[in-house]
């Protein structure tokens, strides 16, 4: 049944972005309301689409070169897309409402909401795209809006640098992604997902080619989902406003990487080596990020590394060929991570932009709603039984236990670390005595901010249960209920939490200092060295080329040659009258010779 609803859902935020940019730049409140209205409209459309199965939307033929290269502008509306539509627009709507409060006094409010609407448009585009090229276009657009939003307070050097870093790192991943798309197109002559799937046999008959293509496509996910080694942009992206961190860097954009891998899963799963690489990269990222998070003092950075870590878990699921588990964790992670970020935002705003956890403390009394919702989120994150995270995380751990024991061990240790760092955060921020005046003077946030917190808390609690999640996605079935996995997971969780509480109770400053972790494993320094070295090399080669080949060779060569020939020709002009006469005579003799004797 054809319906134009998907087009409405996709284009409403674009219209809002355009309207704000062109017309209502000065009317800040109006801009914000337009944006919120647009995203609510998208959400309503998404819910309507969700309710009807078997929907299809009219397609546009955008580029049409016959069988050689055709790029339609069309939508894919299977269960996965519809679930993602509701998730993205729903969380987007909540964050728009939250932003009304968070950005109330900001100067660039119109700019913010325009970029936010554009982001929603791009993200919905990714979720709905039915071919590689359309996906890639929206992929890049999401990176761009992320750049704009991270650098929203661009007068600060740190924010501008962070925005650049995010875009460049994304770009590196996208380069690989593009190569992967080209390889797939080269072999199957199509970029539309539905057309590639039946032609997969062309790829599978060349396993090396397929693996390379799959890994290149994975590069895009590595960049977008901030996995090792392209994870360096996400912690720096915390320079942007907190609602952005919640929306883009927790719930939606980074999840786009996972979504993309699931969408083209039929390509990836045909190559066991690619799957293994994906699983291990996920594992390394999860472990690395969790380790670093234990030593950070900025509340948003801790949550950023937590995001990287949880995305690592999703990658493990993708790598172990269970798309359902990956999507399940993505689903629950969206709720509790957004909740955690918004809670952190509430704290930051109420403490007048203070982000260092050692300057907070005792906030349980001052910000009760924030405290309660935050704890719900934390419990979901560590996989406490009864909360959503428990179900999704355990599914992944069970998968690992079944298929790949080393990954399971590392993932379990990571779960231990997760509990450790998040409880450290909770204890230091919410308990003990306030450690600064800002903390002492803080109050609860307004309803426009606490409202979304409560909604998300409910979702974070209930989101994992079958009766709720069943409507949205396919809940992966374990073969038997292996008791050992949940037991081990809960044990690791309790150990981590207990250690954190014991170490950090009633402290006023960081007791342990592990420089390696504090300095993020010196990865940033390494990248800086690498960039400098490459640039030096390229620059010296170019300088050599320019100085010797172009300057001395071409330019001076041409000028010198002209000068030399000129010097030779100059000799004809001797100033000697009789020499001229001689040349005349010679010329005449030659002329007569050629005229008469030839």
């Amino acid at each position: 049944m054809k319906s134009a609803l998907p087009w409405y859902a996709l284009l409403l935020p674009l219209v809002s972005a355009g309207a704000i940019t062109l017309f209502t730049r000065r009317l800040k409140t109006l801009s914000s309301l337009i944006s919120v209205a647009a995203v609510l409209g998208s959400f309503v459309c998404s819910c309507l689409i969700f309710g009807q199965k078997g929907l299809s939307a009219p397609e546009l033929k955008w580029i049409d070169f016959g069988t050689v290269f055709t790029v339609p502008f069309g939508f894919v509306l299977d269960d996965l897309s519809r679930m993602m539509l509701v998730l993205v627009s729903g969380i987007g709507a909540l964050i728009h409402i939250y932003s009304l409060g968070y950005m109330r006094d900001d100067e660039g409010k119109s700019r913010y909401f325009a970029a936010l609407s554009l982001f929603m448009f791009a993200m919905l585009g990714i979720v709905l795209a039915n071919n590689f090229v359309m996906l890639f276009i929206f992929w890049e657009l999401v990176a761009f809006t992320s750049y704009v939003l991270i650098g929203h307070w661009f007068e600060r050097d740190a924010a501008a640098d962070a925005a650049n870093k995010a875009f460049f790192t994304n770009r590196i991943g996208d380069f690989g992604f593009m190569l992967g798309i080209l390889l797939v197109w080269m072999s199957t002559r199509s970029v539309v997902f539905a057309d590639i799937a039946p032609r997969l046999s062309i790829l599978t008959s060349h396993p090396a080619f397929l693996t390379i293509a799959a890994l290149l496509i994975f590069c895009g996910a590595v960049g977008k989902s901030a996995q090792f080694p392209l994870h360096v942009w996400l912690p720096d992206a915390m320079e942007g406003p907190t609602p952005i961190s919640a929306l883009i860097h927790a719930a939606t954009m980074v999840a786009a990487g996972v979504y993309m891998l699931v969408r083209v899963g039929f390509i990836i799963q045909a190559s066991p080596s690619a799957l293994l690489v994906i699983a291990w990269i996920g594992t390394i990222s999860a472990l690395l990020a969790a380790l670093i998070a234990t030593q950070q003092s900025d509340i948003k950075r801790i949550l950023a590394y937590s995001t990287i870590s949880q995305l690592g878990y999703m990658m493990i699921a993708v790598g172990l060929a269970s798309n359902e588990a990956a999507i399940f964790h993505l689903f629950t992670h969206a709720f509790f991570k957004a909740l955690l970020f918004l809670g952190a935002g509430s704290i930051i705003i109420m403490l007048r932009h203070e982000q260092n956890i050692w300057k907070m403390g005792g906030l349980a009394r001052h910000l009760p709603i924030t405290f309660l919702t935050f704890v719900v989120g934390a419990l979901a994150l560590i996989g406490f039984p009864l909360f959503s995270g428990f179900f999704s995380k355990d599914t992944i751990l069970a998968l690992a236990y079944d298929h790949n024991m080393p990954i399971f061990v590392v993932a379990l240790f990571t779960a231990f670390l997760t509990a450790f760092y998040i409880l450290r955060l909770v204890v230091v921020v919410f308990f003990a005595k306030p450690r600064s005046d800002a903390a002492r003077a803080s109050d609860e946030s307004p309803l426009v901010m606490t409202g979304p917190l409560i909604v998300l808390a409910l979702l974070a609690w209930l989101g994992g249960y079958g009766f709720f999640a069943r409507h949205f996605l396919a809940i992966p079935h374990e073969k038997e209920l292996l008791l050992i996995v949940p037991v081990l997971a809960i044990t690791a969780m309790i150990l981590g939490a207990g250690l954190a509480i014991a170490l950090y109770r009633n402290r006023t400053s960081e007791p342990i200092e592990v420089d390696l972790l504090r300095r993020l494993f010196y990865i940033d320094e390494f990248y800086r060295w690498l960039l400098d070295w490459t640039q030096e090399l390229l620059a010296s080669i170019s300088a050599f080329f320019d100085r010797w080949i172009i300057d001395a060779g071409a330019v001076r060569g041409v000028s010198g040659g002209t000068w030399g020939i000129g010097a030779l020709l100059r000799l004809i002009q001797m100033g000697n009258l009789q020499a001229y006469a001689f040349l005349f005579g010679l010329g005449i003799v030659a002329l007569i010779y050629f005229a008469v004797f030839r």
Binding site: Q578, A579, F582, G585, I588, V589, I592, Y593, F597
Partner: protein
């Protein structure tokens, strides 16, 4: 005209022409040139070009060479002192002149009409001055006027060039 006279005047012209080139003393060169011109005028006469012959004597030998002599005496040119002769250049010059000469000989030798003897002339009442006059003032009137202007310009130019710098 009998060949003897032709050869006599031709040789006169050529020998004194060589003398012009060879002589050190400019006055001597000028006078040799006058005699050469006289020989040439005689050759013109032999070709029944009486007007041209007279003009040659009057204008060239009479006016131009006198001018030359005046200038030589005005500048008080002495006999040229011998500077170092550049043998290479000289050889080159002579070679080119010889080459030219050889080419001319060859071309003229191979032309059929160079064997032509004097064609007979019809008796005419109008002499050659008359005929030349008719042509000059008839067909070539415009070039004639322009030549007049040219001579005027030359006169002005000569006067201008001889002016001394006014302080």
């Amino acid at each position: 005209m009998s060949p003897i006279l032709f050869w006599f005047f031709a040789l006169l012209m050529l020998v004194f022409g060589v003398a012009v080139v060879v002589n050190r003393n400019p006055i001597a060169s000028a006078l040799n040139l006058v005699v050469s011109f006289l020989g040439l005028a005689a050759l013109f006469m032999s070709l029944d070009a009486f007007f041209i012959g007279i003009i040659q004597v009057l204008v060239y030998a009479g006016a131009v060479m006198v001018l030359f002599l005046f200038i030589i005496m005005l500048l008080d040119l002495r006999a040229e002192r011998l500077r170092k002769i550049n043998w290479v250049a000289s050889a080159g010059g002579v070679a080119v002149a010889l080459a030219l000469l050889i080419q001319i000989f060859y071309v003229i030798g191979h032309l059929t009409f160079s064997k032509q003897t004097f064609p007979p002339l019809a008796r005419s009442e109008i002499d050659d001055v008359h005929n030349i006059g008719l042509l000059l003032f008839g067909n070539y009137n415009l070039p004639f006027q322009i030549i007049g202007v040219l001579v005027l310009v030359a006169t002005i130019g000569a006067v201008l060039l001889s002016k001394r710098e006014r302080r």
